[in-house]
Structure formats: C-alpha cells, structure tokens
C-alpha cells in the first residue's frame, strides 16, 4: 500500500478539484434561481437549453470520447419523444411509465444503430448514422396510424404536479444535473477509458485484447439511453411530436451544439446548446431562414473556434497559466 501511494498515481488526476466542485455548485444554484428572474417565455427557452444540452452531451460521449461523430442522435431522441406521447395519449399509461418506455425505446434504438455502425469510423460512421436516422424519420412520417404522419401526435401529457412551468423547469434541471454527473462519471470509468483508447487507436486496442466493436456497441447504447432521457423530457415539455423531431435537422442541430460547446468537453454541451438556442431566437425574429443562419454559424465555428467555446476558453486559460 505505502509504496503505491508514495509514487505519483498512475494516469491523469481524476477526482474533481475543489474549484470544479464549487463551479458546478455555483452553476446549478444560479440555474435553480432562474425561475425567479425569467419570464415564462425565457424560462421555456432555459428548459430547452437543458434538454438539448443533455442530448448534445450524449453525442459527446461518442464524438469526444470514442471519436465517432453521430448524425443519428436526433432520431434516437425523437423516438423517445414519440413513444412517450403515444404511450400517454393513445395507450393511456402514466407519464412516468411512458418516460421509462421512451428511454427504453431510445436505448434499444441506440443498440440497433450501434450494432450496424460499430464497424465503421470517420465519415462512414457519420453517413451510416445519418442514413439510419433518415430511415427512422421515414417510418415516423409514413406509419400514419401510430405516429399521426405529418400531423404528429399532440396532447397535454404533463402530470399535474409538473403543470406549473417553474416546477417543470426544476424537474428538468434536477434530472439533467443527475444525468450529466452520471455521464461525467461514465466517461471517466475504466470503460470510458477504453473508449478513449479506441478513439486514439483501435488497432492497438485490438492487439491488446479488446473487442473494439463490443466496446463501441456498449458506448452507443449508453449514449442512446441519455439521448432518450432528453427526448422523454422534451415530450413532457412540448406535448407534441412530429416527424421534424426525428428529422436530420434535429441531429444536425444537436451535433452543432456539441461542436459549438467543444467536442470532448462534456459540459460544453450546455454552453453550445445555450448559444445555438439563443442564436435561433434572435435570428428567427429577423429572418425565416434559420437553417441558413445555422449553416453559416457552423462554418464560422469550424474556421475560428474548431475546439468550440469551452475548448477555446480552456486553451486560453491554459496559455495564461504558463
């Protein structure tokens, strides 16, 4: 024991520094106080920031830690939304059970995507997940008896307890905080380290005895679970779901949030989500062409801050410290 602790611990420091804990608590406290300051409309936006931040974070598990960029997460997210709305409105289940079913469906879909995509990497992974997402979109559009086709599904599905928009926000904040902590813990687990190993060199991982496909499959499934949790909260938030919830644009927007925040920064997802949602709101009051604005934003980020907002700030802070 003594000779282990005497030498410096092997590997990077892993426990949260006091500074990081204080920052996290401060951010959560401020976030918890927002309902006292914001209008209903702006609190709705803040709720969306949390929900989509969680989705962006689930993408970052794969993009930032396994080096696999998914363009299918909007579909995974949206399937959960569909299942929740359907389960409450048509099947008459309680919202809680519906949410669990939604997360389950998203996890299963993540597993299916994973099964098909794990043998690929780079642009092939991107295209394959894109294609899978489009299949899901096509099904949601055409399977009219269940999904309502283009009209989608609508209904007040929020439980009475959460009907107040403040209560709902606090619920979303609590769930998101717990789940992001879980994601943070997950990427720092021994399993999370194997994903980073695969990102750096899958051939070396194989030669060390790792079944790379299995690890990516597990990673994709876990990522799907968190995307599904975001999708379930979105169902309660929006009380409406249509094919646009599972559309490619949803995947692109969520991925853009991940990139804007900083791939591999994990919590940058919320910064990216806030930035994109703020921009969307400002832009949409001036122009109808939100997609164009989004595209231009994407290009600007790739040119001027490819490491994202949080990634760039981190790099600046690191440079100042030297």
């Amino acid at each position: 024991m003594s000779n282990i602790t005497a030498s410096p611990a092997i590997g990077a420091p892993r426990s949260l520094s006091t500074g990081a804990i204080i920052t996290a608590l401060a951010v959560i406290t401020v976030a918890a106080l927002l309902p006292l300051m914001l209008s209903t409309y702006h609190l709705g936006l803040a709720t969306e920031v949390l929900i989509f931040g969680l989705l962006a974070m689930s993408i970052d598990i794969l993009a930032g830690f396994a080096g696999r960029t998914s363009l299918g997460h909007g579909a995974i997210f949206g399937v959960s939304t569909y299942v929740v709305v359907y389960a409450v409105m048509t099947a008459g289940l309680s919202p809680l059970v519906a949410c669990l079913l939604g997360v389950l469906a998203a996890t299963a879909l993540g597993a299916v995507f994973g099964l098909l995509a794990v043998r690929t990497s780079g642009v092939y992974f991107l295209l394959l997940t894109l294609a899978l997402g489009m299949i899901v979109w096509g099904i949601c559009l055409r399977w009219t008896q269940v999904t309502g086709g283009e009209n989608g599904l609508r209904g007040a599905i929020r439980p009475a307890l959460l009907s107040d928009y403040r209560a709902f926000y606090w619920m979303v904040l609590a769930v998101t905080a717990v789940l992001s902590l879980a994601i943070w813990r997950f990427v720092r687990s021994p399993f999370g380290l194997t994903l980073r190993g695969i990102r750096d060199s899958d051939s070396r991982m194989r030669s060390l005895g790792y079944d790379v496909s299995l690890h990516l499959f597990i990673g994709f499934t876990v990522s799907g679970l968190f995307a599904g949790a975001a999708g379930a909260m979105y169902a309660l938030f929006n009380s409406f779901v249509s094919p646009s919830t599972v559309a490619v644009s949803q995947s692109v927007e969520a991925l853009l949030m991940t990139i804007a925040g900083g791939v591999g920064t994990l919590f940058g997802a919320f910064v990216g989500s806030a930035a994109i949602i703020a921009l969307e709101n400002i832009a949409s009051s001036y122009t109808e062409r939100w997609q164009t604005v989004l595209g231009v934003t994407f290009i600007l980020i790739m040119i001027f801050a490819p490491e994202g907002i949080v990634g760039t700030i981190r790099a600046l802070v690191a440079r100042l410290k030297h």
Binding site: M1, I4, S7, P8, A9, I10, G11, A12, R14, A182, R185, F186, R188, S189, P190, F191, G192, L193, T194, R196, G197, R199, D200, S201, S203, R204, M205, R206, S207, L208, G209, Y210, D211, V212, H215, I218, V222
Partner: protein, 251 residues
C-alpha cells in the same frame, strides 16, 4: 511438437494479385529468440499481421500453443498470450503514459467493462505496470501525455505496452527503427533482459543489432522463406547477401 509454441503451415496472404506472404512454413520453439529479416516489401510485417489476426491468411494454418488461430480475431489471439509492437508507432497519443499502460494491463481483465468504477490502477495493476515500465526503461514518465514523449521513448513505450500483460509470444516489428545508436542499444538491452519463458520474434533490418540478440534467423524474400539459419551462418550466406546485404538500404 510440444516444444513448438508457434507454427505456420503454408501460410499465404494475398492482396489481389500480390502474394505478400507466399507459402510460409516456420516453427518457433518455446523461449526462442527468432529474427525475421528480409528486404523492404519481403512480407515481414504482413506475416506479423497474419500471426496477430490483423489480416486473415488467404490460406494455410497457424497454430499457437496447441490452438488453431488461423481465423481468430486479434483480440482473441491477444487473450491466448500473443502480443506485438508496431513498425509505425501505434500508441494512444492523447493519453498519458500511465493511461496507456492501464489500457494495456486491462486488455485481458474484466475490469475494462466497469462502467462507473474508479479508473485508477489498483495495487496489482500498478505493480505490473511498474514492472513493465521498468523492463522497458520507462519508469518515472507515467504522468506525461504520450505525444510529448521523444520518439525514442515512444518506441520504448511500444514495448512496455506489449509486455505488461505478461504475454507468451512477443512480436517486435523493427523496434529500433529510426533510433539513434544510443537509443538502439537501450532497445537491445531491453530485449536481451527479457525472461526465457517468453518467446520473441524480432523483425529488424539492423544486422548487427538483430544477429547479436537471436538464436535463429528466418530470411524472407518476396513472401517466401529464403533461408533459415543460426546467426553465425547468416552473414556469410550467399543468397542472403544477394537479396539483402548486397543492397544496403539504411542511411
């Protein structure tokens, strides 16, 4: 038979029309130090890829320690005790030396599946990591990101990663390529000090280095075994000189 840990029978690896490995039959006894030499493009690395499962042979049979491994995926061969280094450095560049070693040591342990546990090395793992770093002269560098290591240190880490799981067969693909003379002698020293329970196959272009380390030499040429001899005879072998020594390749 019992003495032979690795045997290849008529192994062929074809890339379209090119037979990179063309009917190779070799047998390596337990504990032997074997060099595989041969000019560029002779098929040495491809032979390693066939033994480790990176590439499946087009035909032929590979038996390791009584198991037919011809069609096994690489990670299953690693589990049987086959370990390798790469000609082109193949590490985890963004991770620290310590994390590289942790990944290596956990490749064969169920702990790699722990989803929420602590990622740090436990006492047993730390001991094995320390031993492998020590054996490859890499101790005291544990907390440095690999991309910040010198090339020579990266080559040493290549060996440390391959050693930490205590394999039974170690394949070294030009471990000293591109190193300074001083660094070469470190690598030679590392190889020389490996225990005899480990079988070592070494690909090396540097004759002085290779011949001083091994018991037996296989010379490949155009995917085929040209000669197999002890080191003392290789230097004077006419055929080897023709294909290999006669044409100096290193600056």
């Amino acid at each position: 038979m019992s003495n032979i840990i690795l045997s290849l029978t008529d192994v062929e690896v074809a890339f379209d029309a090119l037979k990179a490995v063309n009917g190779v039959t070799i047998a390596v006894p337990k504990g032997e130090r074997r060099a595989i030499i041969g000019p560029n493009g002779a098929g040495k690395t491809t032979l390693f890829n066939a033994i480790t499962g990176v590439i499946q042979p087009t035909s032929g049979q590979i038996v390791f320690d009584g198991h037919t491994i011809t069609r096994l995926p690489p990670h299953k061969r690693a589990r049987l005790g086959i370990s390798r280094t790469f000609q082109i450095t193949n590490l985890f560049p963004t991770l620290t030396v310590g994390d590289n070693m942790i990944l290596a040591v956990r490749g064969l342990s169920p702990r790699k599946f722990s989803l929420f546990g602590s990622p740090d090395a436990d006492a047993g793992e730390a001991r094995r990591i320390a031993a492998a770093l020590e054996a490859s002269r890499m101790h005291e560098r544990a907390n440095i990101p690999v991309k910040e290591l010198s090339y020579g240190e990266q080559r040493q880490l290549e060996i440390a990663l391959a050693l930490v799981t205590e394999p039974r067969l170690l394949l070294l693909d030009e471990p000293a390529a591109g190193l300074s003379p001083a660094e070469r002698s470190i690598v030679a020293e590392i190889i020389r000090s490996l225990g005899r329970e480990l079988t070592v196959i070494l690909i090396e272009h540097d004759m002085d280095l290779a011949l001083g380390l091994v018991d037996f030499v296989t010379c490949l040429h155009e995917g085929q075994v040209l000669v197999e001899e002890p080191p003392s005879e290789i230097r004077n072998d006419q055929r080897v000189q023709e294909v290999y020594l006669g044409k100096p390749r290193h600056a």
